[in-house]
Amino acid sequence: MIDKKDGKPLSKIALLAKARAEKRAQESQTTPVKTSVSILDKLKSKKNDQLENKPIEKRKQTSKLYNLAAFKSSKLKTFEPAPFKEESKLETIPKEVFVPKEPQLEPTLTLIDISFNTSSTSSSKYRPSSISKASSILVNHSRSELPESYKRKLEEHHLNTIYFPYTNTQLVKKLKTNFNKPSPDDIVIDAQKSAFEIEKKTEKVIEKVQKLKITSKTPTKPKFKIDVDAELTKRKAKPNTSFVVIGHVDAGKSTLTGRLLLESNVVDKNTYTKLKREAEKSGKGSFSLAWVMDQTPEERDRGVTIDINSSQFETPNANFTIVDAPGHKDFVPNMITGVSQADIAVLVVDASINAFESGFNLDGQTKEHTILAKSLGINKIIVAVNKMDNVDWEETRFEEIKLQLYEFLKFTGFKQSEIQFIPISGLSGLNVVKIPESDTDKRKLKWYSGSTLLQALESADKFERNTSLPFVLSINDIESSSLEFIGRIETGIIQPGETVIFSPSNQIGIVDSLTVNNQKAQIGIAGDSISLKVKDIELDEIQIGDVISIVNHNVPSVKSFKSKLLLFDLNRPILLGTEFMLFRGNVQQPAKISNIISLFDKITGEKLNKKPKHLSSKQSALVEIQLQRELPLELFKDNQSLGRFVLRKDGFTIGAGVVEEF
């Protein structure tokens, strides 16, 4: 061979060196095939750079293992100069010995693996002597496969540099086996790791089991085949409207309700006569109509309504559900339940002198009830100015009350077109159902040209029912003896035979039968107050306020959620952690604010920059609310009645809110 530069023939050694250099250049481009993950990669990546840069003299001082490993790595990988003084001599050794994939080197590789094992454990740091022994074995072992000349060179070199104990083979064997085993630390670490893995596995299993539901979640088909569309159009012609009777205590709500039921023949004359006699006997003759609704001994003795009572009645044009709400301040929770079932509110006010005023002023319930009704989503209000007979049906009194209330109702947020005023007398029944017929009655109401209360209810706008949405019902009452759940359908339709799911108990059952308007029915439509009989249900886990929905639409139950809140007049600020009662429809639960996220401008609704420490009167804010236990809720945008709530504290309504985010 002739060198390109000067044309001089090269010596043998020079030729070999050149070939080697070429080979190196080639190999450095293509990284060698790695036969096993070994210390070589590790050491190479860490130390090769150093090796290349450091002067050779320095390398002499490095440890035996270091030298050896570096040597091996150079052999296997790139033919880098080995860290020995006799570098040039080494190169005379036949090339093929140092080829990476050489099978002869297999033992070396495994041994290197052993040393890798030891050095990878932390314990190896503290056993330098054993490592040097191990490395000597390594060399011993590989020696046999090496060519004779190299062996000799190596021996010479070893004599100069490394001490190799040849004798104690017993120890060597022991060492070898010991290093093949995991170190005591490894055993501990592995045991710990595997322990966690088992835990994870069981956790996963537990999770899966929790997710499992025993009953199948597949929806089932209704028992009876009926034409749903036909039912819907039939229902549209004669809709089901529900209204709640609200107002200050003693305004005559129960008496008015009793009157409506009596005149629409739901209560027969005989029952009423009996009630009347009983009431007169106990000296409460004027309560006879109220007793139609107030049945418990408590209510009758004290002459106040305590709980709501809903009844159905029918006119030629419409079906009605009437909910009689209590007026006493203490029973506002029950009244809220009543409002949550209604489309329209009938606000009863007492027209008698001073009675209206006392009900309308600060402590009276007229205002609180109205605000609650509006906050809970009622948009239409009919004001029944009751006991007009006490003020001789005077127009001026009616107008006076109208004027005051009108301003207030508009302020509360009712639209002008959704407010109606009607003078009535619940006790005598004038202008409730009966239009004035006799001359005296006509004279009394000659100044009034509007409709009767019932007419007003009948002519109320028909409410759009969300029949296309999934079936959702909030349980109002449980008939434990017959497994019947009573409530009003919020959205959707339900038929016997369909599968429903309860939230939060996650129980699944099949609807056996349903009752609408006291009659067995084949379909229940949004807005209906129904009684639902469900099979295979564990009653213990179900409470009033739980939600029943169609099986493929599970209503989420949450313990904390984000909400947009509007506060009313407060006499104490709301701080983080201040406890109050949260009312969602017919459920109440202690709750608190866990985080005030942001504050909104009262008028523009824009986000304000300041982050308050507490909330005070009439502020609007985005907050996080924490409940004591899970409550079925929906986002306001998905379901209006299950997504809104009111807050009360110390017997006052302090705010209203909607669910924004879970």
């Binding site: 139609v292 609704m293 049945q295 418990t296 001994p297 408590e298 004290r302 305590i306 709980d307 709501i308 009572n309 009844s311 006493h328 301040k329 203490d330 029973f331 929770p333 109002n476 009452d477 449980i478 008939e479 434990s480 003896s481 009573i486 409470q543 009033i544 407060l570 006499n571 104490r572 600020p573 701080l575 983080l576 952690g577 201040t578 406890e579 109050f580 009662m581 109440q588 202690p590 420490k613 507490h614 005070s616 009167s617 009360r648 504290k649 110390d650 017997g651 006052f652």
Partner: protein, 384 residues
């Protein structure tokens, strides 16, 4: 608590020997014992008996032995419901069986005396010992807050409110024409509540029993209790009739209790009890905060500034702050109380086991009511 001996040095270090008498005392101790204090106590310990032939692999025998140990406290654990308290720390003196510096957990019981050694007895600590040893200041009140279907039976002591039992029953709604199932389950609910009340509250020991509910449920419960007492011929209950107070609350959940304690009528009856006063002061604070009249502030820095101004009428502070492991913090708060007392203000230390204390804890645990309005306490000094 019974004080058996005390011994204080001039440098305010010293020891006190006490016997706890009730769980109320345990809570006092929980507030009193700090990290680093030393406690000398008789306690049971499992001791390994190293017999000589144990080398052959026979298990070392474990013996339970009553030993007297001196422990340097690292951790104190108190669970009000369990009425138990445990202290944990390293031993500071060696005994025959227990070497020096080994960990030990001892339970403080209501029988055996023990000594607490502190390097520094501050005023709050001494006051805690004195007030808990004063029997007259102890008053326990039973309370039932209920509404149809839910009842909470509680015990209110000087330092804590403990919920003894919660009763829940679902009561069907009345129906037109038939309310019998409603009436029946309501009656059942009242009976269960009355029976639990008689069982859970030690009426003889109590100063008063408050029954509170919206509507008439509390009144009915009152009648039910004595109806049961008459039929079962329970003389003890019958004799305690005068202790019962029937009152109004807006809800049957626990927050109703707070409302009851603010009630003037109840206040009059409980006028000399500390926690009832606390409720009123906290309420005044909240009212002022709501009015935003510049006289109510909360937070450590705001309160600190107000104290510096000498404007403080009432300093409201919870025992949580004194319980701080950071001795510097504790000292800082003690200093604040001293300054307020010195300038004629009143210091109210709230118990974190009462609802009022919990509320105060929610707003950093320290608050002040001022004598005159100051408006810019929350501004940073750097802004000025």
């Amino acid at each position: 608590m019974k004080l058996i001996a005390n011994h204080f040095e001039k440098d305010t270090s010293g020891s006190v020997t006490l016997v706890a008498e009730d769980k109320e005392d345990l809570f006092t101790l929980y507030n009193l014992i700090q990290k680093g204090d030393e406690i000398d106590i008789k306690t049971m310990r499992n001791i390994k008996k190293n017999s000589k032939d144990s080398a052959k692999g026979s298990k070392a025998k474990i013996e339970k032995k009553l030993v007297r140990l001196r422990i340097s406290i690292e951790d104190v654990e108190f669970i009000p419901q369990d009425e138990s308290m445990r202290i944990r720390g390293k031993t500071t003196s060696a005994t025959e069986d227990v070497p020096l510096g080994t960990y030990h957990t001892a339970e403080i019981d209501l029988v055996h005396p023990f000594s607490i050694y502190k390097d520094e007895w501050d005023e709050i600590a001494i006051q805690l010992v004195h007030s808990s040893c004063n029997i007259e200041s102890k008053a326990e009140i039973g309370a039932v807050v209920l509404q149809e279907g839910v009842a909470h039976i509680c015990l209110i002591t000087e330092n804590m409110t403990v919920l003894k039992t919660k009763i829940e029953r679902s009561i069907p709604r009345k129906k037109r024409g038939d309310s019998s199932s409603h009436d029946k389950s309501l009656d059942r609910f009242l009976t269960v509540t009355a029976e639990t009340l008689i069982r859970d509250l030690n009426l003889e020991k109590l100063k008063a029993v408050i029954l509170a509910s919206p509507g008439f449920v509390a009144k009915n419960l009152f009648e039910k209790v004595f109806q049961i007492a008459t039929t079962t011929n329970n003389k003890v209950v019958q004799q305690q009739k005068s202790k019962f107070l029937v009152t109004h609350s807006s809800t049957g959940y626990l927050q109703g209790l707070d409302e009851v304690l603010k009630n003037e009528e109840i206040q009059k009856k409980l006028s000399d009890t500390k926690f009832a006063k606390d409720v009123v002061i906290l309420d005044e604070f909240f009212k002022r905060l709501n009015d935003d009249d510049g006289k109510a502030w909360y937070g450590p820095s705001e309160s600190g500034k107000a104290v510096d101004l000498g404007a403080v009428k009432n300093l409201l502070i919870t025992d949580t702050l004194f319980r701080s492991d950071d001795i510097g913090q504790r000292k800082k708060y003690i200093e604040l109380t001293d300054i307020v007392k010195g300038s004629g203000g009143e210091v109210n230390i709230f118990s974190s086991l009462h609802d009022s204390g919990k509320q105060l804890d929610q707003i950093t645990g320290i608050a002040v009511i001022l004598n005159y309005p100051v408006y810019d306490l929350d501004e940073d000094d750097s802004e000025k």
